[in-house]
Structure formats: C-alpha cells, structure tokens
Symmetry: C2
Subunit: 350 residues, 2 copies
C-alpha cells in the first residue's frame, strides 16, 4: 500500500497554535484550582463510600510499616482510556479521526466514490458505511492508520486533535475528559504511583497527547498497534506503519499487554466495561492490597446514560453488562456512579 | 506442551539468601566508593577522548538555554545488555540458563536420552547439541522458557541467577557486569535521563534482576519474548508462556521494540555489535544532539578480545564487524576500547 501523503499533510498543517493555547489555559486553570483546593486532592468527587474506598486504599498501601504497605516502585496503576478517562459517546474518538481522515484523503482516491465502505462514508451515510461490520472498519483503519512513518502519523494525530471537537459538547475532544479521573491520576502520582494507560485504542493515537492531557508519558501508554518496519528512506532511518495488525490490547489482551510493557502486575486498575474485565481480574489476582474500579455512565443530564445504567440491576446488554456488575459486587470492586459520585464531570463545566 | 514443574521448582528453592547477601555487599561497596569518588561520576573511566565525549554530550543536552538542550522527559537512553552491560563470553548467559534448565528437567523427560539436541547436551557434548543450529537452539528455548506461568518463570530465573556462576571468573553472572557501564547508567540518571535496556535477550529473563543490578525497573526493559495467554487456573488469573515466539528484539527489530515500548526516539544509544546497528542509526536519525557508543572487547588480559579487536582495522567477521567499525568512524560514534578506556572492568576487581 503506497500513497502520496504530501497533499494530505499540507492540509493538516494547522492548529498547533490553538493546541498550545488550550494547553496553557488548562495549565493555568489547573494551577489555580490546585491552590484553591489544596485541602482535598479529589475535589470533584462527592464525599461518600466511593471516594472513601479510593482514599482508604491509597492510605493503607502508602503507610510504612502497615501490613498492606507497597513500596513505591511497585505502585502500578493502569487506566483504560475510552469511557474511563474521556468520553466515547456517540462513538470512539479514534473513529471520528478515521472518518475525518478518509475525507481528507478522498481526493487522492477517486476509486472510493464507488468502493464501500468509503462510498457511503463520503456521502455522509455513516450507518451504511459501518453496515459492513468489522471488515469495513478494518478497511477504514488500514487506509487511515498505515502507509506512513510513525513520525508522520504522530503529526497527523497531533494536528487533528488540536482542532477536532465533540459534536455534543462543542469542545475539543481532549477537553472532554473526566475531571474527577484527572484528579485521581494526579492524586495517585502524588502518592508514588506510576500511572499507565492500558487501552484498546491505538497506542500511537494516544501517545501524542496523553502526556499533556493526563500527565502520562508515551512510555506509559499501552494500546493496540499495527506492525512497523525499520527502513532507510532517503538515507534517513524511519519506522513505516504497515497495514497489518500487531496487537489488540483489549479483553484478555490487556493482561498480556500489561505484562509485555510493564512487566509487573498492577495493584490498582480502572475501567468501565467487559473490555477491562480481565485487567481487573489480573490486578485482583495478585498478593496484598488491591483496588479495582469501574465507571458507570448513568448521568444522562450531564453526559450520557447507557449500558445497564438506565435500570440497574435488571438490564442486560451494553458493554458494562449485568454479569460484570454482579462480579464487581461479589469481588468488592468499586463502582462509580457518575451521577452520584461526581460533583463535576468535565473540566469546562466550571 | 504440558509438563509438571513441581519437582523442578523444589530444586530451585535455594540461594535467595546468597543473592541478598551479594546485593547488600554490593550496596555497601557502592556507597563507600561513591563517597570516595564524589568528585568524578565516572571513576572507572580513564580520562581521554572517550570519557570526554560522554561528559561533553551530557553537559550540552542538560544546559538550559543552550541550542542542544533536551528537556528531561525526552532524555531517553537505550542500552543493549549482552556484551554491552555484562559479559557474554564464552556464550550468552541465557544459554547457560537454558542448559542448566534442561539438566534440571531431564528426569521428567526420559525421551531426551535419545532425542537431539537433548541427548548430546545431557552427555555434556555442548558442541554436538548446538550442531543442529538455530532449530536445535529453538527446541532448547521452547522446553526451558515456555509451558509455565510468567510468575513461575520469574521465580525460576530469580533462583537460578542467585547462584549460577561465570565459568572463568568464578563469580555470579550478575557480578560480571561492567563497572564503567554501571557508573554510566547512574551518571545519566543523575542527569535526568531515563535508562532502558533494549536487548535481543529474553525480556522476562532480564526483568527479575535488572533493577537490582542496573537500577532499571521491569517497565524499562525491552527484549525478545514468547507469546503469553491470559487464563484462569484453579480460579486464579495467570499468564501462560506459550511455545511460540512473539518478538525478536534484535537488529532491525530494536527500533521497532523501542517505538513499541518507549514511543520516543532515544537521544543516546549504547551497543557493541551489528545487532545494535539499527538502534544506533535510529537514534542518530533524530533531530538535535545525539550520542552513539559501541563497546569494543579488546582486553584479553582482563576479559576477552574478540571480533575485530585483535587486529583492527583489517580483520573481518565477528559481530563487531569492520563495516560497523567504519560506520562508527564515519558517523562520529564513540568506540570504547575496554583496554585503554576502562580503568576497571568488573566490580569484583577491587
């Protein structure tokens, strides 16, 4: 698969200024907020059982001499990304990215006018485009995520994320992160934890912005990936992204990805769905104090309510299944009700 | 492939005390040495061009305001392990491990008495065993490195490394590390670098001891791996090591492994052979100040002299080839002469 991406790149050369402005504003807001809320490291969490379960866990694993004490270098915490740290409704952000990218590349691919899923997509018929299921999505991913160097892809993502906005909230996607989870990440790090993302999303789709948005550097991001190949191009060493899947970091793949990248079993894990189930089980399976948490989206007014949230505990289906809810109850996992436990959902609310 | 490892485990339950004693002695020695040599962060390096190239590079990338300044979070340094950080002669330590493991497992495998490469191996005929080349080695690796959980393998490695000794130096393998490189790792970290191992060796063979020996935690070790699979065994979540190769972190695989694990291009890379060539090229290919170094084994008296070292620059062959030497000269990579540049080679010398 060879395509000339230069025209596409030219179209993406924008928005970096904006991005920096957003980052600076966020930094100022964060600093101000930090000073004002110095007393409480989790100001966006309502007091109650959920918040208490977090602070109790952190207190016991950090108390030297206690039976539950964990040395700092073993305080590994892993976080799912989509739906756990940022909003994935009405569809995954990476899919918005892929669809935008198809539109950008379309002028170079006249054949897409008659080729599915591109034909439907370019006509604005998303439902028709996705009717082809997994193979259709795979086709979209391949043309939008492969065939360029890793450095080129990083630039494409960086430029896109700087301007792309959430259709409902009219805010940049990177602003549609959950304020309580941002506080939780910072709180854990302040207590000696090393925080990792472990997501089914693309590892190189998250790395360009995860440090700025979550304080998680590239080497602490675990995700799905395509194969890459080392090449000399015009005498320069590059890594080419190949149209071939390397690893799917989801469900039973999450503990595999954790072991491969981190090489230690987490002592705390945070997710929201059956895609995170094995990560939480793997975390729980270690010796000593453990903490597992699921985020339940039950706030239709401020965000979305979906999965079993509408009528717990009877509803089946959804990715936060009834079985997962039951497992959480049985195994003592914390379940966050966004409606009841979170004072504020997004940073832009206040 | 299913085997019962319980008897084998019993045989490995020894030596942890020894290991702790060694670690403590090393810590005391290190502290004393550190105080005495407080003036010089690289006391085992002779003064001269080689040492100067290292300290010059570190000075310029850490000097705020300088054109070559690199923010701390981008100071990524990658180190090959075998031959760069510890001794790989007369053969790789991991092969010693595999051979010992075959002997340990032999009572459970009567069929090995007539099956190659095991038959030769068990008769002490190493040359005969390895005559089968790569397939023979692969067969040995599979039976010694797969078929157990990751936690079981970690324990096997930890127990073995605590007692196994180098045949020439009569010291534990973990003591046969290069003192100047240990100092270099610490010096880089003291200057804000994050140090990684990027080795063709097994990632899970190195992780159990890399933190104690090199100060490099499991999440900063990149290496070759077998596939693993998440399973529930007796109701406990485990990762099984499968008899199937996942990734070879060597040659053109090193930049791939670096990108996969670290997600940033190193600004400094350290190796010794054609197995490291692409890692050094990839490092050099980035923007700004870069540092590439190769260790040349040319000290037959204190360690070994091999590859082209005996009669540079004419000799061909060896893994430090003449072509690599020429490339190093042309591209300004630093070449360490162990004989001339290193005051001391092993920590146990003094």
């Amino acid at each position: 698969m060879k395509t000339n991406h230069k025209p596409a790149f030219a179209m993406f050369r924008r928005g970096r200024q904006n991005y920096i402005a957003i980052a600076l504003l966020a930094a100022v807001a964060f600093t101000t907020t930090t000073i004002a809320r110095a007393q409480d490291p989790l100001p966006s969490w309502n007091d109650g059982k959920t918040k208490q379960s977090i602070t109790d866990f952190v207190a016991k694993v950090t108390k030297e001499g206690s039976a539950d004490f964990v040395p700092a270098n073993e305080r590994i915490a892993t976080f799912d990304n989509d739906v756990t740290l940022w909003c994935e409704q009405p569809m995954p952000v990476q899919l918005f990215f892929a669809l935008d990218r198809v539109k950008t590349l379309a002028p170079q691919h006249p054949e897409w006018k008659t080729e599915e899923p591109f034909a439907s997509l370019l006509k604005g018929d998303l439902k028709g485009a996705l009717a082809g299921g997994e193979p259709a999505i795979a086709k979209i991913i391949v043309v939008t995520h492969a065939g360029m160097t890793t450095a080129e892809f990083e630039k494409i993502v960086t430029d896109w994320i700087a301007t792309a906005k959430h259709p409902k909230f009219k805010q940049p996607f990177v602003a549609c992160v959950y304020q309580p989870m941002i506080e939780l990440l910072a709180y854990l790090r302040a207590n000696g934890f090393k925080t990792f993302i472990v997501s089914g999303g693309g590892i190189e789709f998250m790395r360009p912005w995860a440090d700025k948005v979550y304080g998680i550097p590239p080497e602490q991001v675990v995700g799905s990936s395509v194969k890459t190949q080392f090449e000399m191009r015009d005498g320069k060493p590059v890594l080419m992204r190949l149209p071939e899947l390397n690893f799917i970091d989801d469900k039973a793949g999450k503990p595999v990805g954790i072991n491969q990248h981190i090489g230690r079993r987490p002592i705390a894990a945070f997710g929201n769905s059956t895609g995170d189930q094995q990560m939480l089980e793997y975390t729980q399976g270690g010796r000593g104090a453990r903490f597992m948490l699921l985020v339940l989206h039950d706030d239709a007014a401020r965000e979305y309510a979906y999965g079993p949230a509408k009528e717990l505990p009877e509803t089946k289906g959804g990715i936060f299944t009834q079985a997962l809810y039951d497992q959480a109850q049985k195994d003592g996992w914390t379940v966050v009700s966004m409606k009841d436990d979170w004072k504020q959902i997004f940073p832009f609310e206040k």
